[in-house]
């Protein structure tokens, strides 16, 4: 291959059928200059060790399945250029998650939290059957657009200290998604969602380390979403004494 440099990949391996606990293996990989970490993992699978298991699909940082710890930091391996790393690269499964096998983590816990924030448009109780589309100004769209860019890659869960210490914390992505719907001018479910946001492991469990925003590959800024949700929930809680349980937003 054209002048390919070799890098050593220290990859965490775990197979419940064989291993009592995770172990690491070293692979020497001839890498191309424009390769990402994922290209190297696929080279290992094809050419060196076909038993390596990892999730990936789109290879263009939009499907969110290839999140892993690269040199200790949660990254999308399809977007992480090997140019930025030295001769040794450590690849491990995402932190804070149970590991199913090799670099594959257990995702069901994340989906439970996603479901809990009711991430769908909740029509007003008396809404007539709608014909055609809502009117929504570019400004109304701007209020939630950033929070709708989440690709569910879970890097924010791997970086969040509260996720590490408080198992029932909803977590950055789920709160950002719930907040996305609360801020959508077409939605009327803020009252329902705020009950969840003020419940066990809700928005106030967040101690604002802002790591989620630092590691988010899609600039969703979940840290901002959670603080916004906190303030709006304080207002919603306060107004709930003044205004009987009516329009919550």
């Amino acid at each position: 291959m054209s002048g390919r440099e070799t890098k050593t990949f220290v990859v965490t391996r775990f197979d419940p059928d064989r291993d009592e606990a995770p172990r690491t293996e070293r692979y020497e990989v001839p890498v191309r200059d424009d390769w990402k970490v994922l290209d190297a993992l696929n080279y290992i699978k094809d050419e060196i060790d076909p038993t390596l298991s990892h999730r990936w699909s789109c290879r263009m940082a939009v499907c969110g399945s290839c999140g892993m710890q690269v040199n200790g930091e949660p990254k999308l391996t399809c977007k992480t250029a090997l140019r930025e790393y030295g001769s040794t690269v450590e690849v491990a499964p995402l932190a804070n998650f149970p590991v199913v096998r090799d670099l594959v983590i257990e995702m069901e816990g994340f989906l439970d939290k996603l479901q809990a924030v009711r991430p769908w448009i909740i029509e007003a109780k008396d809404a007539a059957r709608r014909e055609g589309t809502h009117r929504q100004s570019p400004e109304e769209l701007e209020a939630f657009k950033k929070f709708s860019m989440c690709i569910n890659c879970m890097l924010c869960y791997a970086a969040c200290p509260v996720v590490a210490n408080e198992p029932d914390f909803l977590g950055p992505a789920a709160i950002a998604l719930g907040h996305r719907y609360n801020q959508d001018s077409r939605d009327h479910g803020a009252g329902e969602r705020n009950q969840v946001f003020r419940g066990e492991g809700g928005v106030f469990a967040c101690s604002f380390a802002n790591e989620c925003t630092e590691v988010c590959p899609k600039h969703v800024d979940p840290g901002y979403a959670i603080q916004e949700a906190k303030l709006l929930n304080v207002i919603d809680w306060a107004t709930s004494f003044v205004v009987p349980r009516g329009k919550a937003r």
């Binding site: 200290p161 003020r198 106030f204 929930n233």
Partner: protein, 119 residues
Amino acid sequence: MKTLLLRLEPVIWPLFGAGMMVAALAYPGWLLVVGLAEPLGVLSPAALSYERALGLAAHPIGRLVLLLVIALPLWGGAHHVRHVAIDFGGIARDAWFGSLCYAVALAGSVLAALAVVRL
């Protein structure tokens, strides 16, 4: 206890925010003067003399400012301490430890009110 803490969160969080803001704005100045300048003798002796200090403190605005400057940062500090404890794997004991922190802040706030009233 946990549910009580949960229900109080929407009250505690604004206090926490206000406490940080007040501390950030007021404490450096206070520490500079009372903690450093005065003990090192840099100030003119009259600055923190008993008469002047009492005059400033006993003034209605002085009383209110002192109450806020003492009480709010206590709540800010309590919330921070509670969360650092959780960060070090303390979620299991958070029910009582968190309550203890806020109890201390509450006690401090009550004492502050008394202190300001008896000036």
